[in-house]
């Protein structure tokens, strides 16, 4: 791992704990940043203005919950995809159901993948394992400078 962190945006405190624990069980070493809602997430990534904050470069992958208060998950996704600095940021949507409508909308907006939050915790851990293998080890975020030259 190249030291970048996993940004988890999740409103429910229980789910926050469980997600972090699942990552640990899946042997993911990267640091995990947990944010509570979409507003905080945007502030973290973009700062107060439209200026991208330096936090962006420290993030390796975003685990974005679909259902967030204030600014919703899909809204955050839209912001991420519309800003050039975060365009290439891998975003994995986290849903608690597999309603086709949600998934389609997410993919349309540019989500890279999704996982569900099943009741069976073991499943969740398995999925996290898969996630870690691909998104954190195989996938590399291109250089920020390389993005700007495009």
């Amino acid at each position: 791992m190249d030291g970048r962190s996993i940004l988890v945006i999740e409103d429910n405190p229980d789910d926050q704990i469980l997600t972090v624990r699942a990552l640990k069980s899946a042997s993911v070493d990267s640091p995990v940043i947990v944010l509570e809602d979409g507003e905080e997430a945007l502030k973290f990534l973009f700062g107060d203005g439209d200026q991208p904050s330096r936090n962006v470069e420290s993030v390796g992958v975003v685990l974005l919950d679909v259902k967030l208060p204030k600014v919703g998950g899909l809204e955050v996704l839209r912001h991420l995809r519309s800003s050039p600095s975060t365009q290439w940021l891998p975003v994995i949507m986290v849903t608690s159901s597999d309603e086709p409508a949600d998934l389609l909308e997410a993919y349309r907006l540019g989500a890279n993948s999704f996982i569900t939050k099943p009741i069976d915790y073991r499943e969740f851990v398995e999925q996290m394992t898969l996630l870690a293998r691909y998104w954190l080890q195989v996938n590399r975020v291109p250089n920020a400078s390389a993005v700007r030259s495009l």
């Binding site: 429910n12 229980d14 789910d15 704990i17 469980l18 624990r21 259902k67 608690s96 159901s97 309603e99 939050k117 099943p118 009741i119 069976d120 915790y121 073991r122 969740f124």
Partner: protein, 482 residues
Amino acid sequence: MIGRWRYWRLKTKLLFLTLFTSALGISLVCISLILVENQNYRKQLESELHVIAGILAEQSAAALLFTDREQLGSIISSLKRIGTIRQACIYTPGGGVLSALESQDTRPCPDITQPLEAGFVGDAYQLLIPVTLDNETVGHLYLTSHLDVMRNHIRTFVLVTIAVGALILLALVFLALRLQRIVSGPILTLSETAERIARDADYTIRAPVSGTDELGRLGNTFNEMIGTIEQQNRRILESRDSLERIVEARTSELSMANRELEAFSYSVSHDLRQPLRAIEGFGQALEEDCGEQLNDAGKDYLRRIRAASVRMASLIDGLLVLSRVSRQPMENESIDLTTLLQEISDELMNIDDSVPTEVNIQKGIQVVGDSRMLRVAFQNLLENAWKYSARVEKRRVDVSAVETVSSITIEVRDNGVGFDMRYIDKLFVAFNRLHTPSEFGGTGIGLATVYRVVRRHHGEISASSEVGKGARFDVTLPVSRR
């Protein structure tokens, strides 16, 4: 020609009838006139000849008595002036001819000792009268006249009658052509109006009515009828409009209810699951991180908590499926059920192959319906078959289908524990279970879902079983496309 009477136009029929009766009448009159004239003429001829004969007889009585041939001759020759007399003979009482008319084309005097046919004989009229003096027959007078004049007269009469008749008939043709319009006019107008109304479906049109005869009454009745149709149409449209409004209202109510249900399901799917997730998640975490600190009882309680949350999760899933099956719009298509069932049974065998299983699915079962819903339904049925035959030595599941003209019945059979037929009424009711949780786990929603799917396909489901000998479920689906 008469055979095609039906196909004639009204005008032609009326014309034909009028002219036929007129012609018949005129012909009959002409014929009777001709006959009467003929009779009269004959009578006249007869009486004329009789008069002539009488006069002649009276004149020649004396000459006969005195056998004065000269006198007789001169008497008879006076007949020469009457061109029609062919012969006149005067006989003595013994039958001898004393005198006769001598001219170019005379006939011989007949022998009056033989019986003589008097009257119209052949093409002549002949008569024989006695010449008397003081009531004593002193001789006989024979007279014969040809009928050419009479014939000519009759012929002329016939021709004139025919000519007059024909002229009258011709005049009648014109008259009839005019007059038939009086009758056929209103009828044609009415017929045209009816055609127009039928063609344009315009029930505001009314037929013009004139007169108070049967045609007038027909016209009025017809108009009344059209008026009634118009009124009824309006009422139908009104009621249809009001029905449509009702339907709209209901539809909007329904769609509102549906949306509420959707929102409810969505909420259930997300919000209800979260606490369950927490229970299960922290339960596992507790087990993993603090398991050594628990005694056996604690571990047992924890296990039960986790099991309960899993059960609740599957209940919620089942309910969500049931609700989706009820509200989702159906997308009907032709489905190869054999393939679907094979997939499901393969999945089930993958999940649990602890019991040796034989599965026989009839080939080529085709149904029409919503593939997602049917998958859910048959998945439930096959899962049940698997679940309730988990304890047999060799599991056997058979699926067969029987087709009729209007439907197809799919039979799913297993050799599991079966159920008590006494409780068959509760079989498809949600949350009702026919086995205790210690016998078999389950939510009690599965068969309710199957029932809901089958009903939405306008089909029927029935079940039969013998405890210990397995169960059989029959699903009947209609074949015709909707």
